[in-house]
Symmetry: C2
Subunit: 206 residues, 2 copies
């Protein structure tokens, strides 16, 4: 399918923009554009402006770098959270996932990426100095590393381990193992191997 026979500048612009979204091709983008064309004018203005406002007005928490309406995010501002424990994550999505478990009461530090020489992202491009300062200034007791297990995530975790170690803080990492419900035969060797090495005393939940 091609949109060139129509030569419609407005449609082509919109399709091109919509297809810049991650995972969205020209076909889906065209579907979105035609859908938006059928909506009332005020809805489409709200749509476009909500995105522009998001980008223009968003703030980042000065403590943890989480995106926020104000200078302090609701988690950092919440007096009931344990401020002695910082969980280091790559993105807001990871925060949401961990929050959804209801198992964590500490605060976060959002890196916004991982060290990736391929993409030109070095340690200086991430708020790692800020993390170190935070650990020193606030008598942090534990830093939990919750980065992804790919090459880049591992590199970043190792770098963090190196710079945090002199600061006399407990450094932990989230447990890796066979997920609940997963069959052993379909679990990759690395995960299964680690899950045996790191086996724990069996304590059935009652």
């Amino acid at each position: 399918m091609t949109d060139s026979p129509l030569g419609n500048r407005l449609l082509q612009d919109a399709v091109e923009q919509l297809s810049s979204l991650p995972g969205i091709g020209k076909k889906s983008a065209l579907r979105f554009a035609l859908y938006l064309l059928k909506q009332p004018m005020e809805n489409v203005e709200r749509f476009g402006n909500s995105i522009i406002s998001l980008r223009r007005e968003i703030k980042y928490c000065t403590e943890c770098n989480m995106i926020s309406d104000s200078n302090m995010c609701p988690i950092c501002a919440d007096a009931r959270r344990d401020r002695r424990t910082i969980c280091v994550v790559e993105s807001l999505r990871d925060v949401l996932s961990i929050e959804a478990t209801g198992e964590y009461r500490g605060v976060y530090h959002v890196l916004g990426g991982v060290i990736s020489p391929m993409d030109g992202v070095g340690p200086a491009d991430l708020p790692i100095d800020q993390l170190c300062r935070r650990v020193q200034d606030n008598q942090i007791e534990e830093v939990i590393l919750a980065l992804s297990t790919g090459m880049e995530g591992e590199t970043t975790s190792f770098y963090l381990y190196k710079v945090l170690t002199p600061l006399n803080v407990k450094i932990t990492a989230i447990a890796r193992g066979v997920a609940f419900g997963d069959d052993l035969e379909y679990t990759d060797q690395l995960t299964l191997g680690r899950s045996i090495v790191n086996r724990q005393i069996f304590s059935p939940e009652i």
Copy 2:
């Protein structure tokens, strides 16, 4: 996953708007929003404004109702097209699909929908009168019905057949049959049955 713990108004607004796109859930919408947050401000403004401009500035071809930059779409304006043949389709996407085949040199009539009592769309809500006038005023020789084969498409085709018949125009419909590359065993009975009834003299392409 929930975005409530963050209580971020800007993000929630944008996610809500993005998840209004067809086929997009909250999770994809959040991914889009976080992607847009990482883009330069001017790119995001271009993104939002291209959508608003599309909706605000789009015109519809006064001949065939196709969306257009001007009052006459490039197809209707193209002197090389056969103006005696009109292909009736539901949407612009169908036009693009047919244009991509390179097999059609006539013009189109875009209904923008089909008769659907369930959705409150009656014949009067579609540009059917306009089609009839177009057929009468321009000595149209053939109207090709190329609507979908669902209940609503069939109803619409039948309605068009009824109103076009008195106008003394040849009314045809696109051929239905087993698609190239499809296995007979996986073809639905209706299609396979019709393909036998409507069998054609075999003429191998050389």
